[in-house]
Symmetry: C2
Subunit: 280 residues, 2 copies
Amino acid sequence: MTRQELIKTIRTKKSFLCVGLDSDINKIPQHMRGDKDAIFNFNKAIIDATLPYAVAYKPNLAFYEAGGIKGLEQLKMTMDYLHSLNDKVFTIADAKRGDIGNTSQQYAKAFLDPNGDFNFDSLTVAPYMGEDSVTPFTVYDGKWVILLALTSNKGAFDFQFMEDKNEGKHLFEKVLESSRKWGNDENMMYVVGATKADMLTTVRAIVPNSFLLVPGVGAQGGSLTEVCRYGITSECGLLVNSSRGIIYASGEKDFAERAAQEAQKLQCQMAEELKNHNVI
Amino acid sequence: MTRQELIKTIRTKKSFLCVGLDSDINKIPQHMRGDKDAIFNFNKAIIDATLPYAVAYKPNLAFYEAGGIKGLEQLKMTMDYLHSLNDKVFTIADAKRGDIGNTSQQYAKAFLDPNGDFNFDSLTVAPYMGEDSVTPFTVYDGKWVILLALTSNKGAFDFQFMEDKNEGKHLFEKVLESSRKWGNDENMMYVVGATKADMLTTVRAIVPNSFLLVPGVGAQGGSLTEVCRYGITSECGLLVNSSRGIIYASGEKDFAERAAQEAQKLQCQMAEELKNHNVI
């Protein structure tokens, strides 16, 4: 999906909601767990229920890999289902990959190749190994690398805020700056955690127009209003993710209905923000 | 495999060679490519040929994921085969994972769980997301996290050598220092590229006894002698990896024989180093 298509989808749906499919066999409703395609059935129900309110879906690879090959078959079924929808959505492989050049090429093939098993629109990538670990993900037309800049977890403070001796810049700022030479606003986004919303001003000073994937609203405690205050652009420029707050809103038979309610609640807030900031 | 078992294996085999199974369908010998289990057949032949000379095998996940679910089935067959050997070897999932705590738990389950599809001894992890992204990998007895410190690629210079404003320390030094609170010499190793052998003195000042996984000898240009000069300990403390230099030593029908020759050549050099440094 291109940048213009993404922006159009956001304006049409009045939403920049990404639903995180962190689907765990031990957390989905008890009555579904016995089925051999339990995770796919759960995902399908969540997708069907939240599709009017969401522009993106983000399966986190760890939850599928934890089920071994069978878990990845559930992911493939989920991706096949997403691709079959008339209502096109942006898909994110939350995989946090990154390796030396010839190896990153293989990861790019695994997740972004239109002829591969998954054919995601985008992939999250960790920047520790630098340029040649990132650029192989930018070669597919209309596909995206989503680079970790400032993550939503406590461990983000261990290294991402390290200050550079010469310029006093934080590591995450150096990642943002360096990456401008590796990609552009049409093929590179950044992860910036909602729990660090006050840092969005710093982020926007470096990447004023880039899309940001913002996790941490909901279960992790981030605020949508704060994220928009510092991060929204005239073309939105945000994908705000909620995983557990939506998919596990209920652990009972009404899980899909409750997921829809939570997604709608966020979409309504997002529509307000889009209006307030003159995006729509 | 515990640290003591690993050291014993090294002393018995007079080798600290790790064979990297970066098995690519487009690079294995032409005559094998048609078979549905081509990658497994290739790996099995390489393993059988190199087993007298190697103490560890390191499939890089990217090469299996690039083949989609079928690719991962080849990995499972490879791991099942390695587990079936009487000659026990150390297995490394070169996966470079790392995510927020509850997600890293799922990756740990995917790769290290004895009841999972793969049951590796260890997993490589990227440190960008800090403590809670790393510690979930240390919970399985006799299993290891191998943390990226200083990688062998050109992009390593982008961030890993960033100097801290307060202490003047490099990012990779801070990663090494911080990680000492997250694990110990029984469950944590580090990736240090052979192409940066002169930095091993700095590394050893922080982690004097830890095992280091050293890629970059061979195709990437690192020197075994240099690595040993600065990195070897009284218990060896090194696993030196070669991937392409061994598995693609020939692209013809003699590929396994040539792989064995290359592995033996390295093992002979390693036996010399182990003697010279009084490890055996």
